[in-house]
Amino acid sequence: MKRVEVKLSLPVVAPLLDVIRELSCDLEKNLAAPQALHDLDPEFRGAWIGELLAGQNDDLRALLALFGGEFFSEGIVAFDETNAEPIVRACTAVRLHLRERRLKSLSDESLETGDIDMDGLDEITRKAFMCYLFLATVQELIIQHLDSSIIGS
């Protein structure tokens, strides 16, 4: 089984976990990307959203499980074929929710380019933006290193 281990800086990443946990709680009952489903029968729409929500919650649990004992003792997180896909999806869910809840003051263009003056941000926004970047880095790591053997195409 292909497995990638990454050593993270505990002092940098640990404070971001509070943000991830808080937003994950927020997402328990809300889709990260609300979808337009006007064309569906109302009953079918309810089941559709319920299934998306259940999958989103499973994915978020996989992301939170990444930061267990090995992370807090060694700073190490590990990706393999069992957690890669859920974690990539969960990172997107949290990033979408961060944009909605914590990064509204930043323009979409700034978020896309990452061209932001960190010193000009207040503490809450700075932490949220660092979390946004960290989760993007996790996604890039998984996509680059765990190729089609794990993220099957």
Binding site: A33, L52, R89, T92, A93, L96, R99, D108, I143
Partner: protein, 72 residues
């Protein structure tokens, strides 16, 4: 498919390959179309299959909509 400012280009390409079975070139073409024009028609065909694709894309948090053919 509709554009959003959050998802990474590499992520969108990966999802198109995985969900829609696109090769790298086709996936990148559609990703760029979404990015530059705001939307891209990524699949057309019978409604049941279209619904399945929309659901899968939404599981990956992409903004996918189902439209009747005459709407385009």
């Amino acid at each position: 498919m509709l554009n959003d400012p959050v998802n990474l280009m590499s992520y969108v390409v990966m999802v198109f390959k995985k969900v829609l079975g696109f090769d790298e070139t086709k996936a990148r073409r559609h990703m760029l179309e979404v990015h530059e024009q705001g939307r891209s028609v990524v699949w057309t065909g019978v409604r049941e299959t279209a619904e399945a694709h929309v659901f899968s894309l939404q599981q990956w948090h992409l903004t996918a909509v189902l439209e009747p053919d005459e709407a385009r």
